[in-house]
Symmetry: C2
Subunit: 229 residues, 2 copies
């Protein structure tokens, strides 16, 4: 899910970005993440269609998708507003993520193959490099590899429904902000959790993998809120 859409006129390297609905989705998502629209703001379909350069039809489609991911809230005959996420909502999000990613880790422990382990180890190494980069941690690389790590486990769990549900919970906004709030110590500890998860998967210890993953997510939640305000 590409939420990034820099206003700089980049050559459309991806041929199928021409899809109006996708462009609307990316543009609106970018405007929300970029702060142009703040929580509670009303989103007029006509205004969005102007901003996106497409008609209202794909804009409506994009809004429904964003609503399914809880970025916006749509009330019948009253239009869409940017969702307001209270602290409790985000706590719930982390809680649910912890449960479901724990389940994913447990299943991955039973079903993993050797190739999966190799990939995970590579992720861990790359995250190490990103965390210890000088003069300061490479947040972008950390994010990319962290996402790859969790996605690899999710793939190994081999449950389409679990993947889909988790995808809607791991809002890119939250993940990005979490990393911003991480201190270097937090990042290091996070990757230590990754190492322990890999070890549990290697030993096919489902129970342990579940527990560690839950600890991992809850630690992320703590970091998020400790730096919050």
């Amino acid at each position: 899910m590409a939420t990034q859409h820099t206003p700089a006129n980049d050559e459309d390297a991806k041929p199928t970005l021409s899809k109006a609905a996708d462009r609307a989705y990316d543009t609106i998502g970018g405007l929300i993440l970029g702060g142009h629209f703040k929580p509670g703001d009303r989103l007029s379909e006509e205004e969005l269609s102007r901003l996106c350069g497409v008609s209202r039809t794909p804009v409506r489609d994009a809004l429904r998708r964003l609503a399914a991911e809880y970025f916006v809230v749509i009330r019948p005959n009253q239009g869409a507003v940017v969702a307001v996420w209270k602290r409790q909502d985000i706590e719930d999000l982390f809680h649910m993520r912890a449960l479901l990613e724990g389940m994913a880790a447990a299943r991955a422990a039973s079903r993993r193959n050797d190739d999966c382990l190799i990939q995970l180890e590579q992720c861990v190494e790359r995250i190490d490099k990103a965390v210890n980069a000088m003069p300061e941690p490479d947040i972008a690389a950390f994010l990319a590899e962290n996402t790859a790590f969790h996605r690899t486990i999710l793939d190994a769990a081999d449950s389409p429904r679990l993947s889909a549900t988790l995808a809607s919970l791991i809002a890119p906004a939250i993940v990005a902000r979490t990393a911003e709030h991480y201190s270097q110590a937090d990042l290091r500890r996070s990757n230590e959790h990754h190492r322990e998860v890999v070890e549990a998967l290697r030993n096919r210890d489902a129970q342990l993998a579940d527990s560690i993953m839950q600890v991992h997510i809850r630690a992320a939640a703590n970091s998020y809120f400790s730096k919050q305000d």
Copy 2:
């Protein structure tokens, strides 16, 4: 979400069934549940618009909603097909439901008020009546009250995100088929679980509520699969 309006707990008695998109949603969902469209069948937007008596626009809207709830799968430029649920998918569904409804029960244990308890007790009594109805259990009444019971707990948990996520997991199709597969003994045991949950909520024992609810959902899964084939 609202495919059936059971008389048990309708908040908005507004007969806004005139909404074309809602009618399309209900109609298509009904055709799938009723077996007119079988898993794997292709869903032509034009054909559906004829069947629903509305234009393609609300049909597309309905299809997107159904896709968000995993009733159908939409592939870009290739239309929608009725989702095929393999046994593993349904097992995963129950597993996720167990985790999240357990979480809901735990939170409800902390936040419940007395009115909530009263409602739950009423549900339990009504379910008793439905289960012991002569000459045979009243499945429809059981379903309605069972849904009301779980929804009451979900409301008491007071977590919009949790409610929304669970709503997408508790596909009406599965719930209905589960009840069909229940024996009378299963139904009785199910309501015993309900009683235990209520007792845990009364004592504000979050851990116990969580555990019982997970047992409750897993028992439902067992009943589902034991009668399956």
